[in-house]
Symmetry: C2
Subunit: 334 residues, 2 copies
């Protein structure tokens, strides 16, 4: 049988396990021109919270009763498609389920000899690409500039910080545990980092670390951290708005200080982006990210949970910052 996680209810605030259903359906049969894939890794990402709401955000929302959307890596176990053979490792948006059929649209072949196939969901996948383009094409740091990354220990933030270091920035990260701070500074080479859960006044903390202001802000989080950063933006600063996860689980929209006046006075820019905008340049970026990975310049961690039945709990944990590294669910053995 094909075990699947469907959306049971639209969450109020933080999702609960009861917002998901574990259902079983027969393993689908691939028709002509199609392949059957057994999913190996499912990626859990912050954007999925948005899909659980009824509002259209990046994508249309997931309907109640539908299989949850998600990026995956799997193995072709049956092929009626001329370009894919049994045994091929492929990536695609197969969702929170153990088996999926594809006609090849959106399918991407993954070479398991280059790197562990799970990296196709992290540093060599959507999060790595998001970091690459968000940093280099949206934020455009210059050598010697100070960059602050919120949610820095997440898959996107960690990659963005390391790339910024390679480009000569001074990199400051914020994250939600001392272990994450330690990881950022000791393992990833961040110049500074602080645990926002153990600090009350983000503004004072940032001002001490960034006495000359903040030239670039790579924002994964939004909310109070972003309010503090905006007050410290340096003239000509660039803000890459990558995520606003602090806002995703609120029952009511939150108010905050008006931020446009900081853009005005500092002649600064804030730009929202989705990685899909850069789709035609994914090959060049993946080549560069792979080079860095193989050269040991781009490190990553993974937090892998076993079994699709544990995906909802792992997802909720990730939204609460409990993962250490890219959150994956392992659905089958490669």
């Amino acid at each position: 049988m094909n075990r699947q996680i469907t959306l049971a209810a639209r969450p109020q605030g933080y999702p609960r396990e009861s917002d998901f259903n574990l259902v079983e359906s027969p393993i689908p049969t691939p028709g002509s021109g199609r392949v059957l894939i057994r999913v190996i890794y499912l990626s859990l990402d912050p954007y999925m919270r948005g899909l659980m709401s009824g509002r259209r955000a990046y994508f249309p929302p997931v309907a109640i009763g539908d299989v949850m959307v998600g990026g995956t890596v799997g193995k072709v176990i049956q092929s009626n498609h001329p370009e894919y053979a049994k045994g091929d490792i492929v990536g695609g948006m197969f969702g929170w389920q153990e088996y999926a059929v594809s006609d090849g649209a959106g399918l991407r072949r993954i070479d398991p000899k280059v790197a562990p196939i799970s990296t196709a969901l992290g540093v060599l996948g959507m999060p790595g690409l998001t970091a690459y383009f968000g940093l280099l094409d949206v934020a455009k740091p210059r050598p010697g500039e100070t960059i602050v990354i919120s949610g820095a220990a997440g898959a996107v933030g960690a990659a963005a910080g390391q790339i910024a270091k390679m480009y000569g920035s001074r990199v400051v990260g914020t994250a939600g545990s001392d272990a994450k701070i330690n990881y950022l500074v000791k393992e990833l080479g961040f110049d500074a980092a602080f645990n926002y859960r153990s600090i009350e006044n983000y503004y004072e903390a940032l001002r001490e670390i960034c006495p000359d202001g903040i030239n670039v802000y790579f924002d994964n989080v939004g909310g109070a951290m972003t309010d503090a950063v905006f007050r410290l933006l340096a003239p000509g600063a660039r803000v890459a708005v990558c995520g606003q996860i602090s806002q995703a689980n609120l029952e009511q929209p939150e108010s905050g200080p008006r931020l446009l006046q900081y853009l005005l006075v500092r002649q600064a820019r804030a730009e929202g982006f989705l990685v899909t905008k850069f789709a035609d340049r994914f090959p060049e970026a993946l080549q560069q990210l792979t080079e860095w990975l193989l050269a040991g310049k781009l490190k990553y961690r993974e937090d892998i949970v076993d079994g699709i039945e544990n995906a909802p709990r792992a997802f909720i944990g990730m939204l609460n910052g409990r993962n250490m590294g890219k959150q994956l669910v392992k659905l089958s053995v490669p």
Copy 2:
């Protein structure tokens, strides 16, 4: 004697006349390499409200007791400077006073044969340049796009709207009186405009006028109008943050809905700018603005008050939107 308006007190909320002093001092004597200028027109502009506060914003604040800062046009009545002769008309930041001495720094010669010299403070001055660069270099409208301009009947907004029309945009303006709305639509050729004082739900009003969303927002105002516009930003929208005058007279900073999420989901950009950023391109822009003016493509209105003693009242009136056209004070006869 030289009559001057000095800052008497830092305003709480909207400035009052008692926040200004009218003082007299001897007419200054120009030393070697200097000119004595009799001011003809003083420009009153929203940015001056910021200078009255103790906080540093664009410029250092005006100190209590100092002459108020302001752009002016005047006549050289005595010259010890090799490049200026008695009778020359010049522009510069001579402040709220009837006479000033200059060593030539920041002085700009104005040719009275080209256009009325008052335009050097409006459509051929800082407001016109702000509209030109804010629109063409920051907002970058494309033909057929919908642009919303807040504070559209102000000197900057009116010029920006007319330039946007020349570049093929559909132009929507907001302003604070029916007379201004009439002016925008009937005289300046705006496609639509509405009086925000007679409407409660800005979002519904804008949604009706902009059913396909807003591609460009030229923001002079901030606050609730900007909140409504952000909800309607189209994919790839650009926001030129030119002013936030609705926030300048608040006794306490105002909170509002968090706006970055709209930038994110619409892949939109907001950029603050000051016209000084484009100083090296002022000559090219002034040439273009002059051409448009002489061709009748760029219209303007002026609201001229007589006598420096009336400058504070006129300034307060302008902050309340009571002027119709560029607010000037006439200090002497050309």
